[in-house]
C-alpha cells in the first residue's frame, strides 16, 4: 500500500468553487477560468502516489500549485474535489478531533520561511509538537535535546529564533519536525530561503538523516538541481497540472514536454547521473570490441563528475563496483558521451563535441 495517495485532486480558489469545478473538469485552462469566472485554479486533476520511505520531490515554478498541494496532505487546505489518502485513510473523512490526532502523530512539516515561533526559545520551538500532545516538560526537553544534537545546534537551545542565522533557523525547523517522530515529513520549499552554500549543507544533512531514518518525505522545490539531488521520484507541476512524474533520470533523459525540457536544459548531467545508470553489464561489455588497457574503479553510486576528470586525463575503461568491490558493470567513453549529450539533435549540430557542458 502506498504511504500517500493523492487521487484526482482539484482545488479552486474563489467564492463558489463548486460551480467552476465542471468547467475545470472539462479541461479549461487556468487563464480561461480566471477570465470567465474570476476563480483561480490551484490544482487541476493532480494524482500522485508516494511509497513508504521514499523522497518525492514536487517541482514547479512559483504559482504552479506546489505549496497548495502539500497543504492538502495535512488538510491545512481542503480540496474542492478528489481524495487524499494517507496510509489508506481519506483525510477528508476525519473530523476535527481525529484530524488533530492525525496531524500530531502521522506527519510533521517544515516551512519555507521556517514558521518558527518567535516568542519561544529553540528548545521550546522544537518541543512544540510534543507540547501540544500534552507531553511533560522534562520528557519533551529530553527529546528536543536529542534532535538539537542531531541537527548540530548544541549550545543554542536557549536562544530565540531571531538570534540565529537563516540556516540555523531552518535546522530548528527540521529538528522540530523530527521531534514528533512521525513517519511522514512535508517540506515546503524548506531550503529555498537559504543561501547556496548553506542550502547544499542542509541538503546533505537531510540526505544523511534520511539514510538513517527512512521517512516518507514530500519535498517541494522550485530548484531542479535540488530536486534531482534529493528525490527518488520527481513530479513536475505546471499551472496546477502534473506534467511528468518519474525518477530523476527519466526527467532528464525523457522530458515529457517542452516545459520539462526547458527545465532540464541547463542541468549539469554529470552531477546527476550515477554510474550504475549508464553502465553496461559485463555480458554487454564483453561483446564490445573497443577496450582500453587502463581501468578505473568507481562505486556504483558515484556521480559521473566524480570520475570524469580522470577519464579525460587518461582514456580508460571504468569498472563499476558495489560496496564490497564486486564488479557490477563497465562504462566506456561511448556511454559517457551518450549520457552527457543533451539530445540527439544536439549531436547532429555539434558533431565534434562528445562531452556536453
Amino acid at each position: 500500500m502506498p504511504k500517500i495517495e493523492i487521487k484526482n485532486v482539484y482545488k479552486i480558489f474563489g467564492h463558489s468553487p463548486s460551480k467552476v469545478l465542471p468547467m475545470v473538469r472539462e479541461g479549461a485552462t487556468k487563464e480561461e477560468v480566471l477570465e470567465k469566472t474570476g476563480h483561480t485554479v490551484g490544482l487541476d486533476n493532480v494524482s500522485i502516489t508516494i511509497q513508504e520511505g521514499e523522497t518525492f520531490v514536487c517541482m514547479g515554478l512559483s504559482g504552479s500549485g506546489k505549496s497548495t498541494l502539500i497543504r492538502h496532505i495535512n488538510r491545512l487546505i481542503d480540496p474542492t474535489a478528489g481524495e487524499v489518502l494517507v496510509e489508506g485513510t481519506n483525510v477528508m473523512d476525519l473530523d476535527q478531533k481525529n484530524l488533530i490526532k492525525f496531524r500530531r502523530h502521522k506527519m510533521s512539516m517544515v516551512f519555507q520561511r521556517f514558521g518558527l515561533f518567535p516568542h519561544k526559545t529553540v528548545i521550546e520551538n522544537i518541543g512544540y509538537g510534543l507540547e501540544v500532545q500534552g507531553i511533560k516538560l522534562e520528557e519533551r526537553n529530553k527529546t528536543s535535546m536529542e534532535k538539537i544534537e542531531a541537527v548540530g545546534l548544541i549550545g543554542f537551545e536557549h536562544q530565540y529564533p531571531n538570534q540565529l542565522s537563516g540556516g540555523m533557523q531552518q535546522r530548528v525547523g527540521l529538528a522540530r519536525a523530527l521531534a514528533t517522530n512521525t513517519d511522514i515529513m512535508l517540506m515546503d520549499e524548506a531550503f529555498s530561503a537559504l543561501d547556496p552554500i548553506i542550502r547544499s549543507d542542509m541538503q546533505k544533512q537531510l540526505i544523511d538523516l534520511q539514510a538513517e531514518l527512512k521517512k516518507t518525505i514530500l519535498f517541494i522545490s522550485h530548484d531542479l538541481d535540488e530536486s534531482l539531488k534529493l528525490g527518488d521520484h520527481i513530479g513536475i507541476l505546471n499551472h496546477g497540472r502534473i506534467v511528468q512524474i518519474g525518477s530523476p533520470i527519466d526527467i532528464i533523459m525523457k522530458p515529457a514536454d517542452d516545459y520539462v525540457a526547458a527545465f532540464v536544459k541547463d542541468v549539469n548531467r554529470a552531477k546527476v547521473i550515477k554510474a550504475k545508470i549508464i553502465m553496461l553489464t559485463p555480458e554487454q561489455f564483453k561483446s564490445k570490441k573497443e577496450k582500453n588497457s587502463n581501468t578505473i574503479k568507481v562505486n556504483e553510486d558515484s556521480f559521473l563528475d566524480e570520475f570524469l576528470p580522470q577519464v579525460c586525463l587518461t582514456p580508460a575503461t571504468v569498472e563499476v563496483v558495489d560496496k564490497s568491490g564486486n564488479i557490477k558493470g563497465y562504462i566506456t567513453e561511448k556511454e559517457l558521451s551518450k549520457a552527457l549529450t543533451k539530445s540527439q539533435a544536439d549531436i547532429l549540430t555539434k558533431s565534434n563535441t562528445n562531452v556536453g557542458q
Binding site: 495535512n74 491545512l76 500530531r104 510533521s108 514558521g115 531571531n162 538570534q163
Partner: protein, 364 residues
C-alpha cells in the same frame, strides 16, 4: 408530543422549500426584500405624519409635484417616538438589570476610591513608582518621570489630588470593562469573518456617534455620577481596543499559525500558545489607546455630574477662568502621561521579549 411533530412536519418542509428557493434566487430575493422594506418605511412615514402636513388624499401626490422641490413634511420617518417608548419600556421592564450593573460598578468604584483616598499621599506616589518600575522592566528614567508627574498632580493644587484619584478610579474601572469585553470580542472578530462583518459597522457607529447621545440615556439608566461615565468610557474607548486586538491576531505570520496547526495544535492551543502572545504588542497598543480615550471621555463626562478632575475644567469654563481651566487641563495631561508611560513601557517590554532584534547583530 408525537402529535405536534406530525403537525409541524408539513410546516417544516414548507420552510425548507422556501429556504431552498430563496437560496437559489438569492440576489433576486435580496432586492425584493430591500425594496419591500424601503416602501414599507415610506408608508409608515406617510401614515404617521401629521394630517396637516399631508395632502388631503394621497393620490394628490401624483397630481401635484410641488413636493419634489422642497423636502415634503410628510416624508418623515418617525424614529424618535418608538425610540423613546422603547427606552421607557427598557427602564420599566429591565430596570433591575441596570440597577444591578449600577450597584456593582458603583460598589467597585466607591471601594477603590475610598481606599485610595484614605491612603496617605506619599504612599500612593510610592505605589505608582513601584508599579512603574516593574511594569517598565526596571527603567529608571520612566519611573522618575512618572513619579514627578504624580507628585505634580497634588502640587498643582491640593484640591486636585482627591479628584485625580476619583478620575483614575473611573478610568481604571472603564478600562477593566474594556479589556474584559474588548479583547475576547477582538479575538472572536479575528477568527470569524461573519462576526467581523457584523461587528465592524457597530464599532463604526460607536466611534462616530456623538458622546452626548449615549451620555443622556446613560443618566436615565444609571443615574448621575460615576457609572454613566464608566459606561460612556466603555462605548468610546472599546472600539480601538477591539480593532487593534483583531488586527494583532490577524497580523500574526500566517506561516507560524500554519506551523502550529500542522503540528496538531487545537484551535485553543494555537490561540493561547501562538496567536495571543504574538499579538500582545498590538493588544497593548490597544490598551494604551483605550486609556488615552478614557481620559478624554472623563472630562466630557464631568458635564453629566461625574466628580473628578474634569469638573475643574468645566468650572473654569463656566467662570471664564482661563487659569483655572488650564491648570486642571495640565493635571489631565499629567495623568495621561502617567497612564501612557506605564502601558507603553510595558508594551515595549513585551515586544522586546517576542522579538529580540538587538541581539541579532551580535551573532551576525
Amino acid at each position: 408530543m408525537q402529535k405536534y411533530i406530525e403537525y409541524f412536519k408539513p410546516v417544516i418542509s414548507l420552510f425548507i422549500f422556501i429556504g431552498f428557493i430563496i437560496k437559489k434566487y438569492k440576489n433576486y430575493f435580496k432586492f425584493i426584500i430591500y425594496s419591500v422594506i424601503f416602501i414599507w418605511f415610506i408608508i409608515i412615514g406617510y401614515r404617521s405624519a401629521r394630517p396637516r402636513y399631508k395632502p388631503e388624499h394621497f393620490t394628490d401626490i401624483f397630481n401635484d409635484f410641488s413636493w419634489l422641490v422642497n423636502w415634503p413634511k410628510w416624508l418623515d420617518f418617525p424614529l424618535m417616538q418608538p425610540l423613546n417608548s422603547g427606552f421607557d419600556w427598557l427602564i420599566v421592564n429591565y430596570g433591575m438589570f441596570f440597577e444591578g450593573i449600577n450597584n456593582f460598578l458603583l460598589g467597585l468604584y466607591t471601594t477603590m476610591k475610598n481606599f485610595l483616598v484614605g491612603l496617605p499621599w506619599p504612599l500612593v506616589i510610592a505605589l505608582v513608582i513601584f508599579i512603574t518600575y516593574f511594569a517598565s522592566g526596571r527603567k529608571t528614567s520612566t519611573t522618575i518621570l512618572v513619579a514627578f508627574c504624580t507628585f505634580f498632580l497634588g502640587f498643582l493644587s491640593p484640591r486636585y489630588w482627591d479628584k485625580c484619584i476619583m478620575t483614575v478610579c473611573i478610568v481604571l474601572i472603564g478600562m477593566l470593562l474594556c479589556i474584559v469585553i474588548g479583547i475576547p470580542v477582538g479575538i472572536a472578530m479575528a477568527r470569524n469573518q461573519k462576526v467581523r462583518n457584523a461587528l465592524l459597522p457597530i464599532l463604526d457607529l460607536m466611534q462616530t456617534i456623538p458622546s452626548f447621545c449615549y451620555l443622556i440615556p446613560g443618566i436615565l439608566l444609571f443615574g448621575l455620577g460615576a457609572v454613566p461615565a464608566i459606561i460612556a468610557i466603555f462605548v468610546y474607548a472599546v472600539p480601538p481596543l477591539i480593532r487593534l486586538t483583531d488586527l494583532g491576531i490577524r497580523l500574526v505570520d500566517k506561516e507560524v499559525v500554519e506551523a502550529s496547526e500542522a503540528f496538531g495544535a487545537s484551535k485553543k492551543q494555537t490561540l493561547w500558545g501562538v496567536q495571543i502572545p504574538l499579538a500582545l504588542p498590538n493588544i497593548m497598543q490597544g490598551i494604551n489607546q483605550c486609556t488615552m480615550m478614557s481620559l478624554a471621555m472623563v472630562v466630557i463626562a464631568s458635564m453629566i455630574g461625574t466628580r473628578g478632575i474634569g469638573d475643574e475644567v468645566l468650572l473654569g469654563l463656566q467662570q471664564l477662568n482661563v487659569g483655572m481651566a488650564t491648570e486642571a487641563g495640565i493635571a489631565i495631561v499629567l495623568l495621561a502621561i502617567i497612564f501612557d508611560r506605564i502601558t507603553q513601557s510595558y508594551g515595549e517590554r513585551l515586544q522586546e521579549r517576542t522579538q529580540k532584534k538587538k541581539e541579532i547583530e551580535e551573532h551576525a
